[in-house]
Symmetry: C2
DNA sequence: ACCTGAACACCGTTCAAGT
DNA sequence: ACCTGAACACCGTTCAAGT
């Protein structure tokens, strides 16, 4: 058999993430799920951070972006919302994506997809920061709620409004 | 003697953070630094997350905000930049603050200080997201550079410009 | 080429027992 | 009230050895 490869590892990692959360995504746990020795993973992957990066790439690979219409503001908004929704709907994805971007181990497609419709790097940076920041702030709230803590609900519409503050600025044509 | 208390723990934790990074802030490391048994820490602190929260509170407690002038845009910008600079100048602080905010274990002063000069919760949320997102994105770059990876430099001025996109929007008086 | 087993140097948390 | 010692159930990573 030996169906184990880099792609299979990220699949199992992502599955572990959605069902048990980021804390349960350990090299030992992934190995157990695949019924191999932990050390076997290191043949396919440099280290844990690289596995997390592969998971982010796989997560973003599934995102379908609509083709650019030429309306810059509309295009950016559409892609930003698509990315935001994807991150929000996957458990602990905000933290995962943030760490991959921070360490440069994954998530290039996020910046690339925005740059393709963004007028400049500055705007892309602001949009990325808004996505990561809002997702991080929001996903904690989800966790806190799951733990029974009462917090004010922040929804996708809040993100859309924050997004409008940026794209609505005069500096964007 | 017994000069050990919650405040002392966060002091040592913060010192460990700046000198060795977040990965080296462990309960065992803090205990060693204080020359006590690890289990002793749990008398003063519920768990590790609570220690991290205390560290964030201590970090933000040192931030001096200028009193509100009445000029909303100026006041928000000033406080946002103050917070952003504080986070950026302390090693791994972006990740630390983000996790504390996400889990609701610290950092209330950040939201409070912005709310005091912000016209509404929506704007505060956007500003917070921008600070956390930009700091996270930026601090990784610092780390990556420290590891010898070459990345495009993003400076404080980039954050200021992104901030202008939000505060410059017509929805803020 | 790909995998195992064992080891190394760590973790956070709990809890009986001490003073 | 505050602390120790020992234990429990974990971590990521390396590396000789196997096939």
């Amino acid at each position: 058999m030996s169906t184990m490869n880099r792609d299979e590892l990220s699949r199992v990692g992502l599955q572990l993430l959605t069902t048990h959360g980021l804390a349960d995504v350990s090299m030992r746990r992934v190995a157990k799920e695949l019924d191999v020795a932990v050390s076997a993973l290191y043949w396919h992957v440099k280290d844990k951070q690289s596995l997390l990066g592969a998971m982010v790439d796989r997560l973003l690979a599934d995102v379908n972006f609509t083709p650019p219409t030429g309306d810059t503001r509309h295009d950016i908004t559409a892609r930003a919302e698509r990315l935001y929704d994807t991150i929000l709907e996957t458990r602990d994805a905000a933290e995962l994506v943030a760490s991959a971007l921070a360490l440069g181990t994954g998530g290039e497609r996020m910046r690339d997809s925005l740059n393709a419709v963004s007028p400049n790097a500055l705007t892309t940076d602001a949009i990325m920061a808004l996505i990561i920041g809002h997702a991080t702030l929001n996903q904690q709230r989800t966790q806190a709620q799951a733990l029974g803590v009462n917090v004010s609900p922040t929804t996708t519409s809040t993100f859309r409004q924050a997004l409008n503050l940026v794209t609505g600025a005069s500096s964007i044509a």
